[in-house]
């Protein structure tokens, strides 16, 4: 198994090198490179499943030198969960990429290199058990994903998104570095194992400081509001298969690291951490989905919805911390399982949706939903897969998103067991607001699917769309099957995840899926019994549909097709359809305090209202976070820099003297310490 584990990295490296070594045949090189990544992912998947089955973590140590210590790769259960997410998704995405990059990417070879390095770096982030190498792979991950973002570098938005991403992610890494260095000071080594061993020796003030730094650093990567502003830009600009990985896996590496910090590196858990994370979670969930609803760019919509889903994961983690801090280990485990389960689920359905969006893009060359429509007739398979993703992400039964959202909701409700009045009051409020976010998500994805795939085409390109090729369909089929399986096997998945939670919480896994307590639920075991029952219920109603179908067949029931109802006036045209912007108009009015919509109507006429020549309408929402939070911050920093410029005179001698001065001070400081 160990060799298998290493072999996956070799495949990634091999895959990265193929394009460079191969000859002129770009298409073949790209395909080979992505397939190599696919094989590597299969191996990773096998390793993750092996760890789940056997429960034995395995470890590989490359001897290293100096203060940084050895390069240790360890695959314990927690890592295995995230390796599973990574490998399953990247296996599907690799297949997809072969078809997706076939036609329109002159950079396909370079993409192959970046793609393999990206996956490899994520696998290293997840398995590295040494802070130094973790940070190293973290940076490689940031860099390779940056390359995806600026792939279309001749476009201005792309460069802007890249810059924003670069700045934000480095800001995050800086905080993360501080957190790790603080832990290093405490433990005297960069090994995760030593961090964990010396966690109890961490002074409370240090502990809280490390928590804040880690939350800011990792929250930036996870797209936690208000640190999210890079996410919609970056995920939109990257090629769709890369967005699937970025949204499905990369932002989840932050969740992985956060779990390590909270449950392993920081010792005794404090309740207020849970409070902070819960607040961040509900803010991300609500604001993320509210912004997603306002988008009519398909990929931006999906990106904002990723923020919402990360919010849901945060809600699970936050309540788990709350429970753990008050010694309710069983409930802490339940909430943690919910969070992990949602991470897994989100990877599947969000990956699926991004791939679907990519298929639409490669068929229509347009992401603007106002120019799409009616694609279900032209691309039936893609539509079916996209619909699967939509149902799953809207947390509707019987697909997988529902199971994890149900568990999160129950975990939040269980928060009412606390003695404190505030907890008793706010947990159910949080739960109801979370339900609100879920309902808004359903609306968002009715819009995403309905405007894109239903109705009639809103542009000539959409009218001539072609179904995507076999590779792409196969990849989407795999992920759709994953969504179904994760729901049908919810009991098993929860069982596996309960052992992961047990590792983190040091409790017995059996406790985490409780049954028959006072304010309480039965957990997925009951759920497992319910799903077949619901299936039977569906079967019970099958006769009705069969009956209608039979009558249709036997021509007892005549079906005539005709035009739409037009109120008796002239025929309805395609341009009269509801638009994506119109669909969310009611919400734009109701939540105008958040969106602060701007609306401008310009009328051109030749001297009189009746002689109107043109009318322009513009409506957009104010990006509140950018304008209220980031612009002033940026202005302040620029102002500060202006002041700092005073020491910059242009004389090279002066600069050299600065260096001298700094060196002297450093030497003195070291001496005095």
């Amino acid at each position: 198994m160990k060799t298998l584990f290493l072999l996956q990295f070799i495949f990634y490296i091999f895959g990265a090198l193929i394009p460079a070594l191969s000859g002129k045949n770009t298409r073949l090189a790209s395909a080979a490179s992505h397939l190599a990544a696919g094989i590597g992912s299969m191996l990773g998947l096998a390793c993750a499943l092996f760890v789940f089955a056997s429960g034995i973590p395995f470890e590989w140590v490359f001897p290293g030198e100096g203060v940084f210590g050895n390069l240790t790769l360890r695959l314990d259960r927690l890592s295995a969960v995230f390796l599973f997410i990574l490998s399953a998704l990247s296996a599907a995405v690799s297949i997809y990429a072969v078809g997706y990059l076939k036609d329109h990417h002159r950079d396909a070879r370079f993409l192959g290199f970046v793609y393999n390095s990206f996956i490899c770096s994520m696998a290293l982030v997840i398995t590295a058990a040494n802070a130094f190498y973790f940070l190293l792979s973290w940076e490689v991950m940031a860099l390779t994903s940056y390359m995806f973002v600026v792939m279309e570098h001749e476009q201005k938005e792309s460069r802007r998104a890249g810059l924003l991403y670069f700045v934000m992610t480095h800001l995050g890494t800086a905080f993360l570095m501080i957190a790790f260095l603080a832990l290093f000071l405490n433990a005297g080594s960069f090994e995760f194992r030593d961090f964990q061993a010396s966690a109890s020796a961490l002074a409370p003030a240090w502990k809280n400081a490390v928590f804040v730094c880690a939350l800011i650093g990792l929250g930036t990567k996870a797209g936690m509001i208000p640190l999210h502003i890079w996410l919609p830009e970056a995920h939109t600009q990257a090629p769709s298969h890369a967005s699937a990985l970025m949204s499905g896996v990369m932002i989840k590496t932050a969740i992985y690291a956060l779990l390590r910090f909270l449950f392993q590196f920081l010792g005794e858990i404090e309740a207020w951490w849970g409070g902070v994370i819960l607040c961040a979670g509900i803010l991300s969930a609500l604001i993320g989905i509210l912004y997603a609803l306002m988008e009519h760019d398909l990929k931006r919509l999906l990106a904002y919805s990723s923020i919402e889903n990360m919010g849901i994961v945060f809600l699970g983690i936050g309540s788990s911390l709350f429970f753990a801090a008050s010694g309710r280990t069983a409930w802490a485990g339940f909430a943690l399982i919910a969070a992990l389960f949602h991470s897994v689920n989100h990877a599947f359905f969000k990956g699926l949706l991004f791939l679907g969006a990519g298929s639409v893009f490669s068929a229509v060359h347009c992401r603007d939903m106002e120019r799409l429509g009616g694609l279900i007739h032209r691309m039936p398979a893609t539509a079916a897969f996209f619909l699967t993703g939509c149902v799953a992400i809207s947390a509707l039964p019987p697909l997988n998103g529902f199971v994890s959202e149900w568990m999160t909701l129950i975990a939040l409700f269980a928060g009412m067991q606390f003695q404190g009045l505030a907890a008793r009051f706010f947990f159910p409020i949080l739960a109801s607001l979370f339900g609100f976010a879920g309902a808004l998500a359903a609306m968002c994805f009715v819009k995403a699917f309905g405007i894109t795939f239903l109705g009639s085409p809103r542009s000539s390109e959409a009218a001539q769309a072609r179904e995507s090729d076999g590779w792409m369909k196969a990849a989407m089929a795999v992920l759709s099957a994953g969504c179904v399986l994760l729901s049908a096997g919810a009991g098993w998945t929860a069982g596996i995840l309960s052992r992961v939670a047990a590792d983190l919480l040091e409790g017995a896994p059996a406790d985490f899926l409780p049954s028959g307590q006072s304010v309480c639920v039965s957990g997925p075991a009951e759920m497992g019994r319910f799903m077949p029952a619901a299936g039977l219920g569906l079967l019970a109603v099958l006769p009705i549909s069969l009956w209608i179908w039979r009558r249709l067949r036997l021509k007892q029931l005549k079906v005539r097709t005709g035009p739409n109802w037009d109120c008796g006036f002239s025929r309805i045209t395609d341009r009269m359809q509801y638009s994506a912007t119109g669909y969310s108009k009611p919400l734009r009015r109701i939540f105008s305090f958040l969106y602060q919509p701007l609306r401008r109507v310009e009328v051109e006429d030749e001297g009189h209202v009746l002689l109107r020549t043109a009318q322009r309408f513009e409506s957009r929402i104010r990006p509140l976070f950018e304008e209220v939070l980031y612009r002033p911050l940026a202005r302040w920093i620029i102002g500060l820099s202006e002041k700092a410029r005073q020491i910059q005179t242009g004389h090279i001698q002066l600069y050299l003297s600065y260096i001298l001065l700094t060196t002297i001070i450093l030497v003195l400081v070291v001496r005095l310490l």
Binding site: L421, A422, F425, F593
Partner: protein, 220 residues
């Protein structure tokens, strides 16, 4: 020295209705409805006062209850009705916040009063403690109403809401003040309402409207 067992749940119910009425007073979009809700609020207050009097067998509180009933549910609303008719002002309420937002803030205020009073160990009310928090909540809601309303009349209503809260606090913590003081306060409120009515006239005379925003012009 306490009354029948069914009285406490009944009082709880009335207290809850009192809260609901305060919220209704805050969000109702029409001036007349506001006044009716104020009358209802005072009526419920009278009920609670009566309940307290019977529950603890303190007859002098009954007088306060009767006064509340007469003065606040009948006389003051009548004064208001008349004022509105004579002023001929617009009958819708103008606020700075929309209804859902003010509801959210109000429920938060109710929670804060519950949360804050819950830890006040110093108060040992004879009736149970939740009435204290409801009184404080009413007080908060009255202040909230005064801060978010544009028109002078609705601000006066807010003030009366505050007064109701204070009265409830008095009744449920100390069985009310001595009767003389109580009557004095009632008289104050009545006179206050009349004087404020006069003021409202004057404001309108001076500013051609009752919009409190225009008072900002007075600052130097």
């Amino acid at each position: 020295m306490t009354g029948a067992a069914w009285m406490l749940p009944a009082l709880h119910f009335v207290a809850m209705l009192l809260l609901v009425t305060s919220l209704a007073l805050i969000v109702s979009p029409q001036l007349f409805a506001c006044i009716r809700f104020y009358a209802l609020h005072s009526f419920l207050l009278a009920l609670i006062t009566t309940g307290t009097a019977l529950y603890h067998r303190v007859p002098h509180v009954l007088i306060a209850a009767v006064l509340t009933l007469v003065l606040k549910t009948i006389v003051i609303p009548q004064i208001f009705y008349r004022m509105i008719r004579r002023l001929g002002i617009r009958r819708d309420v103008e606020t700075y916040l929309n209804i859902p937002l003010s509801l959210i803030f109000s429920t938060l205020l109710v929670f804060i009063s519950f949360y804050g009073v819950g830890n006040l160990r110093a108060i040992k009310p004879p009736l149970s403690q939740e009435f204290v928090s409801i009184a404080v909540a009413t007080l908060f809601l009255g202040m909230f109403m005064m801060t978010t309303r544009k028109k002078a009349l609705t601000q006066v209503l807010g003030l009366l809401l505050i007064e109701n809260g204070l009265f409830l606090l008095g009744v449920t913590t100390t069985f009310g003040m001595p009767l003389l003081v109580e009557i004095g306060i009632f008289f104050d409120v009545l006179v206050g309402a009349i004087i404020m009515g006069v003021f409202v006239f004057k404001i309108r005379g001076a500013f051609e409207g009752l919009d409190m925003d225009q008072l900002t012009m007075l600052k130097g």
